[in-house]
């Protein structure tokens, strides 16, 4: 499923930053780049992109005003770009999918794209996409979910039980399994591992963090719409806003 993307920013270098990052995602097709709100309006009406990256502060019409002029039917999924926080929270009033702060964080960028894919799949009524929604609605504890992992320490191979894992951290091509204060390196990237884990027991809270649901003791909202989790062992973990809904759903569900 390709996604047709429009990039709106008055600075050419900022637009390049977006299009270059998008070029590493095969399913993202940039259909246009424009430098102001007026041009964005006509590009959206003419080409009906699926997703628009929209700078908030632009000469003339701001990104927020531009989107507000469109009817809900015409309005594409929107990811706002802003250099400074104060506009970001207001962006949600015009139905933003997400917002990104400049300088752009690659992980946040990828998270926002994941989110956009999920939302587009929902919009097109196709749930078979192996996105977050599908992951959440998958049957619990299927036979496919590994109950233990083999990790190498020196010359030895030891086994870590899935139920002993507190949380998992992305470490390049490895996944760091945190067990009782120690870290075991599993030779598997986190995004692959994420699909193999039992969604009833593990939840993704960040592009680079997965946590075991029953280890979560507290959740506190941060001022930037992210949140901070506290595990039973006292470890604080940042949870990205992109995964906030999924996290709340899992936490609200049966333990």
């Amino acid at each position: 499923m390709t996604m047709r993307v429009l990039v709106v920013d008055d600075e050419p270098l900022a637009r390049r930053g977006i299009t270059t990052r998008l070029s590493t995602h095969a399913d993202m097709q940039v259909i246009g780049e424009v430098g102001d709100g007026e041009a964005a309006l006509s590009a959206i009406v003419d080409n009906a992109p699926d997703l628009v990256f929209m700078d908030v502060q632009m000469p003339g019409m701001s990104g927020l005003e531009t989107l507000a002029l469109l009817s809900p039917r015409e309005r594409p999924l929107a990811i706002f770009l802003t250099a400074y926080d104060q506009f970001a929270l207001r962006a949600f009033d015009v139905h933003a999918l997400d917002y990104l702060l400049k300088p752009i964080d690659d992980e946040r960028f990828a998270e926002a794209l994941d989110h956009a894919r999920d939302m587009l799949a929902l919009r097109r009524g196709r749930d078979q996409q192996p996105g977050l929604q599908a992951l959440l609605s998958a049957p619990t504890a299927g036979p496919d979910h590994p109950s233990r992992f083999a990790v190498r320490t020196g010359n030895r191979v030891i086994f870590v039980a899935a139920r002993d894992i507190d949380w998992i951290e992305a470490m390049g091509d490895y996944a760091g399994l945190h067990v009782d204060g120690k870290v075991h390196l599993l030779r598997e990237p986190l995004h692959q591992l994420a699909h193999r884990l039992d969604p009833a027991q593990f939840v993704r809270i960040h592009r680079s963090t997965i946590v075991r649901v029953d280890r979560i003791a507290e959740m506190e909202a941060l001022s930037n719409r992210d949140s901070l989790l506290r595990l039973h062992d006292g470890t604080p973990l940042r949870a990205s806003r992109t995964y906030g809904d999924a996290l709340r759903t899992v936490l609200a569900g049966p333990a």
Binding site: H95, L101, I104, A221, L222, S227, L228, R230, G244
Partner: protein
Amino acid sequence: MPIATARRLPPLWLTLLVGWTPVLLGTVVAALTVLGQTNQLLNHALFLLAFTLGSIPLGVVQRRLWRRGTSWRRSVGVLLAFSLGLAFVSTTVVIWVATRIGSIPGKFQWRFVFGSMDVVWFVLIAFCAIYMVIGYYVSMQEERLRALAAAALARDAELRALRYQLHPHFLFNTLNAISTLVVEQRTHDATRMIARLGDFLRATLDGDGAHEVSLADELSLTEHYLDIEKARLGERLTISMQIGPDTLRAAVPYLLLQPLVENAIRHGIAPRREGGHLEIQVTHAGERLHLNLRNDGLGVPEKLSRGAPDSSSVGLRNVRERLERLYEHNHAFELTFAEDGCCQVLIDLPFRRMAVQAAKPPARLT
């Protein structure tokens, strides 16, 4: 002293009420002694009328003087002369009425007027005095509130001045590290570090102005900082955090941990070839919040061992001063160096929860 222009006034009705009540009571008590003697009662009633007639214009004039901020001396002169005139006029009217209705026998005579106007005059002077007292009380209250507000402003300004200043060393070292990453074409690491630096700058430049944040926000900011340090120091820096139950919403001074963590890394861990470990513990006990930072280090630094301990570290001094301004004596800050070179900072604060944030879920297009 009260400011001359636009002084606040006690309301006129309040002054009249306060001024009238004793006169009214006095008249009633005096009238009780002459119950049954119609003429005497009438005279008391007329006396009350004389006072009332005099007090209203007097109140208006005094109000005007007060509002203009006329000097004491002038006000007293004007009011004495004016009240004398009023006493004369109102007593004349009352005596004239009294002789007409017969409550005072005989014809109207000026000596009656001069014989009784002194009492009216004194009562009017008393009325002026009451007005002054109330006026000064009100303006004193005003002054006190203003002084309190000024003190709060001064404290705010002090705290603002103490706002943590980004260490130039840290900024340029980070830029240098990023430049290295770019040269090595490790673009992903470079953008990641730039993003973290952006987060960190955004937080330290934030014009929100609050002096306290929730511990959750403070920890998140500290982690942004630690992400950068981890990228710079690699495996030489290990960190463990133990955050106790029911502490995430606790109010802590904005940027409390970051300068302490920076200090621990700069002076303790970074200079050690083998690196070191940083430990942060936060616990909530009764009405207190305890923060405990511990790091491996080189022992008491040269500079610190001379002179008073900790006097040379800007970051530490900044934290201490802010704690002092925010909590006065209701806090503790302790810095100790162990034999093995470990450095420990203990902070004890009053436990208070931040107001709940409006955590409404983001609106979405579906």
